[in-house]
Amino acid sequence: MIDLLDIISPQSSAYLPWILALLILPIFSFATTGFMKGKAPYWSSAIIASNLLVAAYLATVFWNEPLTIRGNWFKLGENQFTYSFYLDKLALTMSLIVNFVALLVHIFSTEYMRTDANKPRYFAYLGLFTFSMMGIVLFNDLLFIFIFWELVGVSSYLLIGFWFQKKSASLAANKAFILNRIGDLGFITGLMILFTQFHSLDLDAVKSLMIMSEIEDGNWVVNFMQGGKEVISSMDGRWLSAGGIALFCGAVGKSAQFPLQVWLPDAMEGPTPVSALIHAATMVAAGVYMLARIFVLLDAQALEVVAIVGAVTAFMAAIAALSQFDIKKVLAYSTISQLGYMVLAMGVGAYSAGLFHLITHAFFKAGLFLSAGIIIHQLHHLEKGGKKFDPQDMRVMGGLRRKLPVTFFAFVICSLALAGLPGFSGFLSKDAILLDLAVWADIKGGGFYIPEVLAFMTVVLTAFYTFRMIYLVFFGEFRLPKILGDASLPNKLKEGNLWVTVPAVIFALLSFTFPFGFTLNADHSWVMEALKTPMYLVPESYAATSLLDVPEETFHGLHKTVNIVSILLALAGLFIAWLSYKPGAKLEKTFIERREPVGVLGQISFYHWYQNSLYQNIFLKAILAKSRALAWFDQYVLDEAVNLLAKLNVVIAHVTRWFDQVFVDGLVNLTAASVGKVGQLTRSIQSGNIQAQILVTFIFLLTLILLLVV
């Protein structure tokens, strides 16, 4: 029998300082950047660059041989808590991506935030974020992952609310934080379930013990040794599913899945580079990363929940993205939608495909956000001295292709990747997901075709809203001069400088297929090779059917169909977008006057299925009603009780005062008086009269003699 303490026995490595460096450099950046003033961007960029180099070095060393480092942290009763690092291909890839995107965002921000007075604070927060993100990636202990998970939430909160002078920004930060908390509640519940069963949160230990656990009479049982003592953990089998779903709740919050996704569009109140880094490429992907880490611990039911939530999120968000006016809102809904794809992939067991999509999405979405950032930044310059307008509103854009050619190039490349057209990275990863999804739906059958249908519909929608955005922003006429009545504006609009264009172009280049392999078949990509789908470790009767068990032929048979269907759907979406939003088309012409979308569907889309108002009406109102009830209770019951108590106290005080005055004081006075009297009595003897004293002496002498003699 395995001893738990043997599994989590300390393991050291000479590379520990390198791993710690990955954590220490960003936190060092956080600690020092705030004092740098004008040099803050260069300083923090240099630190992140060196961090990227460390990550790259570690990647070259440990690419083929994962590294585990473990040490004892503290002991609570019998339970040994450990800290552990695990550097496998997934962790190394993630740390590279995080640092790479962070570095480019740093560079981009140098220009984007140039005029902001609180620039050092901004870069310090970026350092904090990178630190917490690296913690999630590197640690192999669910407790530590949870700690850094929360830290990521904090840094996200700080960055969304960076312009906290704006009411909407601070509200959005609060919203993001609170909704994340709801998800984290699930996360911590999952941790508790796992800890109760396995007495450890170390992922290695949890996995090893999960293999040994069995289902006996509907109970989830595991026997193991802990420090020489035998432990039999047993709980109802449903806890296994519940634990997985609870852990997934954490990902729902962090990765903005239905029903907690409403925070992400609001999070666009933060600076655009932050949106690129946190709310597109890395942090929201942390939920997917966490799902990948606990992938093998999820049973069939939990995975079904994951898949359904992912599909629903992907579809809903794609619908919502159709009719937004704000360019960042479109990108935000698109992000939610793509995250839905990843989660869906995890749910169907397409581990490699989901992570592949995570990587490709990180690059093309960051590129989209940075391009949008350039547009916003350049439009923002026009605002100077002129009339105020919203530089994020697509109604003021149009025809920017000629003014911002580099941005246009980057934006279009990234958009093609997002739409999933062949030759671009998004095609590979999305294709892989759709293929696995199709196989999964075939195996499951019945109602499980719905996620597949939703996913394929989302392909059309994605292509549509992507190209709607491109047409509105880059084609047609520049609408702003007409709105503001200033014909000179187009001449003032310039392309962004190298600080901003280079990062965007780099992301655009990474959105092609070639960084992931010169192929149109996702299976031939090195990413799919590197991140192989692992086997489920849960007891057999609870485990989902692994896609690894499906014969190769099934995939091959479906591959062509899926490929063709998805390409056709994407082209269809493109075509519809061209029809409705091409320059001079009906919708494009009326777009500028529109205040809100027409028709029921449009309304649903624009208000994102009214989810916000639903929450407002149900939860907020319920909470407010409860608050009012509590306030009423407070005011009329508690306050009255308190007042009554106070009055009672006053009465008692009066009584005690009277008692005090009459009895206690009387007693004291009596004592004092009697003492005084005795004093007077004795004092009268001490008259200072020697004769009297002699007299008294003799009285006593006489008495003494009389007593003795007689």
Binding site: Q686, S687, G688, N689, I690, Q691, I694, L695
Partner: protein, 95 residues
């Protein structure tokens, strides 16, 4: 004889107790000392060789003289200070 000594002592004591004037108190004290002398000399009759009683009474007389001298000096001083020689008015030791 002893009775006379006892009488003298008791009268001296009485005077010491009752008189307010410091000099009268001194007189009382002299009386008491003298009564002691009387007793000493009386018993000394039964010890003609050693004469302890007589010698002792000699010493007592000497001490009485010294005491009187010092006491009177003090009385004069006190009178100068308090402007009275009444003992009941000199009560700075009163508690």
């Amino acid at each position: 004889m002893l009775l006379l000594g006892a009488l003298m002592f008791c009268v001296g004591l009485f005077v010491v107790f009752t008189r307010k004037n410091a000099i009268m108190v001194l007189i009382g004290i002299e009386l008491m000392l003298n009564s002691a002398n009387l007793n000493l000399v009386t018993f000394s009759r039964f010890d003609p060789q050693a004469l302890q009683g007589q010698i002792f009474s000699l010493f007592v007389i000497t001490i009485a003289a010294a005491e009187a001298a010092v006491a009177l000096a003090i009385v004069v001083k006190v009178y100068k200070y308090f402007k009275t020689s009444d003992l009941d008015k000199i009560n700075s030791m009163k508690g």
